[in-house]
Subunit: 128 residues, 2 copies
């Protein structure tokens, strides 16, 4: 999922660890649908596979599978089964660990909101 050739900076000590940490986080969020999935899961608490097609309009099952797999591998979401008398239902939900990323997303959102007012208006005309 990540690119093979990764960006790289010169400084070996002070900057590098922070740089790698930043890249990790952005790798985690940069998939086209990742943050969409996380945001929806935060809002709806739990979602089934099919639900994502309703709340994340435009995603395909192939992409959804791969995004869910990646997010699960990074322990941001987890799959749980609810057993009912007639059948078992699989749900996806955020992990405890993902609560931390929620703070991150909020920071990004707050920046985006303030930015949107000033700068972005000339771009993104397509999504009023």
């Amino acid at each position: 999922m990540e690119k093979k050739v990764k960006p790289c900076i010169a400084d070996e000590t002070i900057l590098k660890q922070r740089f790698l940490a930043l890249r990790d986080t952005l790798d985690l969020l940069s998939g086209k649908w990742r943050f969409c999935i996380l945001l929806n899961l935060h809002y709806y608490e739990k979602l089934r596979f099919k639900d994502f097609f309703e709340v994340s309009k435009g995603i395909s099952p192939k992409v959804l599978t791969s995004e869910l797999t990646t997010l699960e591998a990074h322990q941001l979401i987890e799959k749980s089964i609810e057993f009912t008398p007639t059948k078992d239902i699989a749900y996806y939900r955020l992990t405890q660990h993902a609560q931390e990323i929620w703070h991150v997303l909020n920071t990004l959102i707050e920046f985006g909101l303030s930015n949107r007012k000033e700068v972005i208006q000339s771009l993104h005309q397509n999504d009023k």
Copy 2:
């Protein structure tokens, strides 16, 4: 620079504005070299075009130009000319407005640092 077909969520009111704001911010940071450039500019304060090839190892002039252009369009960096007796030197530096994004980057870095210890070790073996 942004993808034509953009991810989309269902909810029209509560979630949507926050979703768009989040996408804006991630669009801004998701370029392969964007955050590298920003981080380096924060660290070195000002850099010339050629300097980026030293501090951002692996970037090509074509990509550098397009990333700088985008960042400048979003008013995160600016080009300034320093006049010396013999010649003029062009520098890039962060704008006032970018100070705000520095807080954002720090949040991403802090998350990445704590995450790196727990989860990521099995991945990214290639960049100790």
